[in-house]
């Protein structure tokens, strides 16, 4: 049996990529523009907020605690050599609030919800439910996408705060129980280390990550082709693309905030 390799033109690939970026941009813009057009589907927003926010709570609690504890453990092993174990609180506080809290929460929610959105909307596309919705006079971007974008951005903000807090508690557990750091000293260091810039960085990121997760999940769902196999493909692509985009955006947002507020 002979295998034939199909050569793909680089121009065709570039065109496909440009088209995908254009469609994604249009869908994202449309999802934002819908906030200024009636109806707003607040019921759907609340339902999505429950699914995304409350549904993701167990995994966020678990990862927040673990990451905080691990951060403290790793920091302590280095700080101990210099007799600076009391600085654990500072490292955990900075690491969790500015970077790991938003990033880990974003990646966890991306894995759980970008895939969920892509598969749900993808199934609706292949079974013509999206066409039916349009045929019934309802705009699917308004009814399905905007509520998901609003709910994800809103709930990720609060999930990140929860993850940050649990990370600090996890760090405290390790610092206090394993390294004997005083409770008052730990929490005072945690509190005093943080400045406005750190909190601002830690709270602006989840809103951006929430927007990325929902728009990428919805984009791959709405552009699903090829039946159930296509739904599976869209689901995988949504998780990969949203995770990669979160990492890239995280780097540039951090850099931008450093550029605006200056380094510590």
């Amino acid at each position: 049996m002979a295998f034939e390799l199909e050569l793909i033109s680089p121009i065709a690939v570039a065109k496909d990529v440009a088209l995908a970026v254009q469609e994604y941009t249009l869908l994202s813009a449309q999802s934002l523009a819908n906030f200024f057009r009636r109806p707003l589907y607040t019921g759907d927003m609340l339902q999505q907020a429950d699914l995304i926010g409350v549904g993701s709570l167990p995994i966020v609690v678990l990862t927040g605690l673990s990451v905080g504890a691990l951060l403290a453990l790793n920091a302590a092993s280095t700080l101990q050599r210099f007799g600076g174990v009391t600085l654990i609180g500072e490292l955990v506080s900075l690491g969790m609030v500015t970077e790991l809290g938003p990033l880990i929460t974003g990646l966890m929610v991306a894995g759980r919800n970008a895939s969920g959105m892509a598969s749900e909307l993808g199934s609706m596309v292949v079974t013509e439910q999206i066409d039916a919705m349009r045929a019934l006079g309802t705009d699917p971007t308004k009814k399905l996408i905007t509520p998901r974008v609003a709910a994800t951005a809103f709930m990720l903000f609060f999930l990140t705060i929860i993850a940050d807090l649990l990370g600090l508690i996890g760090g405290y557990g390790v610092a206090h129980l394993l390294f004997g750091v005083d409770t008052n000293q730990y929490w005072t260091t945690v509190w005093q280390t943080l400045v406005f810039r750190d909190v601002f960085t830690g709270l602006i990121k989840p809103v951006l990550f929430g927007f990325i997760i929902s728009t990428i999940g919805c984009y791959y769902g709405m552009s699903t082709r090829g039946g159930t196999q296509g739904v599976g493909r869209s689901t995988t692509q949504a998780v990969v693309a949203s995770s990669v985009l979160i990492l890239i955006v995280d780097f540039f947002v951090t850099k931008l905030i450093f550029a605006i507020f200056g380094y510590r």
Partner: protein, 281 residues
């Protein structure tokens, strides 16, 4: 089998648009990835007329329906629905026009996360109709398709034929001026198919709704041409031999992306085209 009871005796007939035709295709072409699906398609659907659309699988029948309702845009040509040109209409304007057109999809396309009454009343809910009014109209239209007992069931609990009837109920709840049926009897057993045909016929004869019906089953279209719905007995009755139903009924056959036949049952039966003769034999 008698058809379900009528929703109301004083039901209003569909509103006739001031324009000449319910649907008009003027030299419409569309291709997907170099593959031409429809090439220079032209036909007209009169107000109150039912047109059955035939063609082998992949001949572009479903594409044609999606073009008619603006779910797809043609590469060239013009499409008029209820006097308005849909080819150059914005999506927002199309949403408004689609409220006057009903469509039954091939696989029903019911929203599987919603219950039957939510599916059927979807359009009314979107329009902000009060809940009591929605419930009354949903029950009425479910009674019309003889499925009132499925009111709070999920689509996954329904059989294929029941889903198709719920899809018809969803399409007709707002009394649309034009109905588009995409293979309404496809994949169903003969008895269920007959029930669906009877429902379509009832909609045609009672409400005089214009309809474009894609079908693979020639016998369904011929049944519609040779029978009419009798309101007194609440079931379809065969017309005397040689007599056709009072409502205009025509046939359109697609082949190789083009229209090869557009005429009534008599013209179809007497056609000398070899392909058509083979198709109807």
């Amino acid at each position: 089998m008698p058809a379900p009871t009528l929703p109301s005796e004083n039901a209003t007939a569909s509103v006739v648009s001031p324009s000449g035709y319910a649907i008009e295709f003027d030299n419409v072409s569309i291709a997907f990835d170099e593959h031409v699906v429809l090439d220079g398609i032209s036909f007209r659907l009169q107000h109150g007329e039912t047109k059955a659309l035939f063609g082998v699988a992949g001949s572009g029948k479903s594409t044609l329906l999606k073009l008619a309702i603006g779910l797809l845009r043609p590469d060239s040509g013009r499409i008029y629905v209820l006097g308005e040109e849909v080819t150059c209409m914005s999506e927002q304007k199309l949403f408004e026009l689609r409220r006057r057109v009903g469509i039954v999809f091939q696989e029903s396309a019911l929203f599987d996360s919603l219950q039957v009454y939510e599916n059927v009343g979807f359009r009314l809910t979107e329009e902000g109709v009060p809940a009591e009014e929605i419930e009354r109209r949903v029950r009425e239209v479910l009674r019309f398709v003889e499925l009132e007992r499925t009111y709070d069931m999920r689509p996954s609990e329904l059989s294929g034929g029941m889903r198709r009837r719920v899809a018809i109920a969803r399409a007709i709840i707002t009394e649309p001026e034009v109905l588009l049926y995409d293979s309404p009897t496809g994949g169903l057993d003969p008895v269920t198919s007959n029930t669906i045909v009877e429902l379509i016929m009832k909609q045609r004869d009672v409400y005089k709704t214009s309809a474009l019906m894609v079908t693979h089953r020639l016998q369904d279209a011929f049944t519609m041409a040779t029978h009419e719905f009798d309101k007194a007995t609440n079931q379809m009755v065969a017309l005397p031999k040689g007599q056709l139903c009072g409502v205009p009924m025509s046939f359109l056959i697609l082949r190789d992306a083009r229209v090869i036949f557009d005429g009534d049952a008599h013209e179809l039966a007497t056609s000398r085209d070899e392909y058509i003769r083979e198709y109807i034999s």
